[in-house]
């Protein structure tokens, strides 16, 4: 089809190769070391200054990281998050008024159990990372993906945001910080901004007791996961039919572990290392995955979906080229760890396909990444304050974003349901009909109990809840590709059952109220 109704010709001209001047465009005295974007050639020194400034400027502009606050850095070992770690380290060591004033810690999620690495490979990677992490002196939390099998259901609850500082304002927090004259040392025992007696603290203490993954920063030996948990994880991932869904599930579980670590170790913020290039791929990929409703949450600077733990993305202004050059020039070490999509074909998953597509388009049209990325600036965060009263059931069980499946009858979601109905036998002829989403509560769970025997903790209900109604559009697709829903970690299944019982109760109450009205 040609360009009916549309006119795209004006801004999509291929850019011509810029004329490269040999001098740095900033100081105009040193010879250039790299070109950042079309035409901007920087020398080594100016590039470093520019790079360092951008990190602080991003935090300064958004004013979300308060002085003295404990901030968890999610480091995967890859170039972007390693670069972020180096920026924080440098920002804290500086003895200037520009010094960063928060208290960092590091979390690394070891995903080797899902990506098919051997225990030896995983231990080697962890050892390499630890030597990098230890040089920073920050507390280190190493978490294995297998630990999802011992998470508490409360991970899936969005706690209300913790008011920080005197009146929650950035300025107030800064004043308070200055009054205290705190130097913001890296001592993990300090809790300068947590108001006493706040309910969240109780929850956190409670969670800390439940937690099985306490990893003191001074200890170097982490226990590798038990073979029972390893098998459970293997069973879960092998039951997911597509790489697209596997990648999606892995990301969800990783998020849960990070948030749980932050809560139990009383961090209020988590910094993620997503670069501008990464976010552009994520934005387009998420559109393809049906995650349009939560684009802003997934790609914006701040991600408030978990309530008390806010995720921030301070690396979102850097392209992967800038990061690669910086790391190379200034000796930032990173560790290559194979992921689910390492060495797979271009079309193996939606995420991977999108990455190849954006990369290729970027070569021909150099503004591709920045244009896509700018789109994210114009989007509304779906988890705004107006949604806070909507209650927890209105959020997706897995990704914690507000449900986007309640749209009206004229929608793609509804049209798909209609197609499904019309493509099947009429209900009257069909096999015994399901009794709606609550049918599972009455079912005997012999078969699923047998399948998962021995791999899960004792609080298993033995029933497999029908998750559909609790999930957003995109997470439904992931679960649709999962053959054995009962091999999901217990905290998810338990929370699902709980939510369904609650909604059933609510329905019953509603019926009762209606009858009252009638009478």
């Amino acid at each position: 089809m040609c360009e009916i109704d549309e006119n795209y010709g004006d801004i999509l001209e291929k850019s011509t190769i810029p004329c490269v001047s040999q001098m740095c465009m900033k100081c105009k005295s040193n010879s250039a070391a790299l070109i950042i974007r079309a035409g901007d050639a920087f020398c080594r020194g100016c590039f470093k200054e520019y790079f360092v400034h951008k990190f602080r400027a991003m935090l300064g502009k958004n004013r979300l990281i308060f002085p003295g606050e404990k901030v968890l850095l999610a480091v995967s070992g890859g170039p972007a998050s390693s670069s972020m770690l180096a920026q924080v380290q440098q920002g804290l060591s500086q003895d200037t008024p520009k010094k960063l004033r928060f208290v960092p810690g590091i979390v690394y999620i070891d995903e080797g159990g899902a990506t098919g690495q051997s225990m030896e490979e995983r231990q080697m990677a962890i050892a390499q990372l630890k030597s990098i992490f230890q040089a920073t002196g920050f507390p280190i939390h190493i978490v294995h993906l297998e630990q999802v099998f011992s998470l508490p259901g409360s991970v899936l609850e969005a706690a209300s945001p913790t008011p920080t500082g005197t009146d929650g304002s950035y300025k107030g927090a800064v004043d308070q910080y200055i009054r205290k004259g705190s130097t913001g040392g890296a001592g993990p025992s300090e809790e300068p901004t947590q108001p006493r007696g706040h309910p969240v603290l109780d929850v956190q203490q409670h969670l800390a007791q439940l937690s099985t993954m306490e990893v003191p920063s001074s200890q170097h030996s982490q226990e590798m996961p038990s073979s029972q948990q390893s098998q459970a994880l293997e069973m879960l991932f092998s039951s997911v039919r597509t790489l697209t869904a596997r990648e999606d599930l892995l990301m969800t579980l990783r998020h849960h572990l990070i948030v749980h670590t932050a809560r139990t170790q009383s961090y209020a913020k988590v910094m993620m290392g997503d670069s501008c290039s990464r976010l552009a791929v994520k934005l387009l990929g998420n559109i393809a995955l049906g995650r349009g409703a939560s684009l802003a949450t997934d790609t914006g600077f701040s991600d408030p979906r978990h309530g008390d733990i806010m995720l921030v993305r301070p690396m979102r202004d850097y392209t992967s080229k800038e990061i690669a050059f910086y790391n190379r020039m200034f000796g930032v070490a990173s560790v290559f760890i194979p992921s689910l999509d390492t060495k797979v074909s271009e079309k193996a998953s939606i995420q991977h396909l999108t990455e190849s597509f954006v990369t290729r388009l970027q070569t021909d049209f150099p503004s591709t990444v920045s244009t896509i990325y700018r789109t994210s600036e114009k989007l509304q965060t779906a988890c705004g304050p107006q949604d806070r009263d909507a209650g927890l059931t209105a959020r997706c069980l897995l990704c914690m974003c507000p449900l986007d499946t309640t749209s009206d009858k004229s929608s793609a979601f509804h049209a798909t349901l209609v197609s499904e109905k019309l493509s099947q036998k009429l209900p009257s002829e069909a096999a015994p009909p399901k009794q709606g989403c609550l049918s599972s509560t009455g079912r005997q769970g012999k078969d699923c109990g047998a399948l998962t025997d021995g791999c899960c903790s004792s609080d298993r209900t033995g029933r497999v809840p029908e998750l559909g109604s609790l999930l957003c559009y995109s997470c439904r697709l992931t679960i649709k590709d999962t053959a054995a829903v009962d091999s999901l970690p217990p905290y998810i299944l338990t929370e699902a059952t709980r939510r369904m019982q609650r909604s059933q109760m609510r329905e019953e109450i509603a019926e009762f109220l209606l009858e009252e009205d009638d009478g």
Binding site: M1, C2, E3, I4, D5, E6, N7, Y8, G9, D10, I11, L12, T242, T244, L284, N286, I287, A288, L289, G290, R291, G292, A293, L295, A296, K347, A348, I350, L353, F357, L361, F365, T371, I372, R374, T375, E377, K378, L379, Q380, A382, D404, S407, K409, S410, S411, A412, H414, A415, T416, V418, S419, E420, L422, S423, Q424, K425, Y473, S474, L477
Partner: protein
């Protein structure tokens, strides 16, 4: 071993549905396809009894299937619509004259009235003549903008209440991707709407009853029904960038067949930050058509053609609107920039 239809459980399945993964036989597929379009029409309240509805007919697969299905549904569900075919003759030798032949055959097969409006009578320019002046790089801009108005003007001539176009799910999803790639938030928000209501004078409401129909199913529907359609690419349509978006969408569909619907779902649920400036719709001071500027895109393109300055309508030259409305000449410097030389 042949797969059995998941609907009737008797006949042999002839296709796998990309949207749901079900396998259907020919008859169950026809029924499901038609009823889904019906559901789309009903749930979005696209029509009102007694309305005259023009089907934008190009002779291609989408509009041919649309005309066929609308006729079937109008009879089956007693919509009470007066349907007619409306075609635009862009004046492209070797492409449009052939496809218009197909539309004329459709007219006879479906017994629907047909009206053809030509660029030549509306604008005084055929696409062949335009290409001669502007070359092959921006001609799709002219064609697209002119076609949009041509359908409207044809519809007004015929006193039509609504226009239906054959845009299918793949087209909508592709447009969502295009608008993300070019960062056009205003279009991104609008492009998934099934109906554009006629704001301002001159615009007839349009709708897309095939919005949720996969291209694959449209082609198979036409194939199994032996519908007569024309399938040659427009000879002037090289557009590389849109080609990238389409190829990407087709690859997505190959990885996860529901992806096309998933992209549309994403587009339907985007929320745009308040305070992002959206263009205000007004009307063109020359022709009265809806426009966010003093002069509409079509009038600017036309002015450019007539002045021999084809770049006038391409890109943003809002500050020249005043001069053009006052019919003043441009300065030599302004003219130099708008000539076709470095197209």
């Amino acid at each position: 071993m042949p797969v059995v239809c998941s609907c009737c459980a008797q006949a042999r399945a002839m296709l796998k549905r990309p949207k749901t993964g079900h396998s259907l036989c020919r008859e169950c597929f026809f029924w499901a396809f038609e009823e889904e379009v019906h559901e789309t029409i009903v749930s979005a309240s696209l029509f009102t009894r007694g309305e005259t509805v023009a089907i934008g007919a190009s002779g291609g697969k989408d509009s041919t299937v649309l005309a066929h299905v609308l006729k079937v549904l109008n009879d089956r569900h007693h919509y009470g619509l007066k349907l007619l075919l409306l075609s635009v003759d862009e004046g492209i030798t070797g492409y449009r004259d052939d496809s218009l032949e197909t539309v004329r055959r459709n007219q006879r097969q479906y017994e629907l009235p047909l009206k053809i409006v030509s660029y030549e009578e509306l604008y005084g320019w055929t696409m062949d003549a335009i290409v001669k002046q502007v070359g092959l790089k921006n001609n799709c801009t002219f064609c697209g903008v002119f076609r949009r108005q041509a359908l409207d003007r044809g519809a007004m001539m015929l006193k039509v209440d609504k226009i239906c176009t054959g845009h299918n799910a793949d087209d909508i999803a592709e447009t969502v991707l295009m608008n993300v790639l070019r960062g056009d938030i205003a279009r991104l928000r609008r492009c998934t709407a099934i109906c554009t209501s006629g704001e301002g004078e001159g615009a007839v409401p349009r709708c897309k009853p095939l919005k949720y129909a996969y291209e694959k199913e449209i082609v198979l529907y036409a194939y199994f029904k032996r519908l007569d359609y024309f399938s040659t690419e427009c000879i002037y349509s090289p557009n590389a960038y849109r080609g990238h978006a389409r190829a990407f969408l087709k690859d997505l569909e190959a990885v996860r067949p529901s992806a096309i619907m998933d992209v549309i779902h994403s587009g339907e649920n985007l929320s745009v930050r308040e305070g992002v400036r959206m263009p205000v719709q007004g009307t063109c001071n020359r022709c009265g058509y809806i426009s966010s500027q003093a002069l509409c895109k079509s009038c600017m393109l036309l002015e450019g053609l007539n002045r021999g300055l084809p770049r006038l309508g391409i890109g943003k030259h809002h500050r020249l609107h005043g001069k053009i409305l006052a019919q003043q000449p441009l300065t030599l410097d302004e003219e130099r920039k708008l000539k076709a030389v470095d197209f």
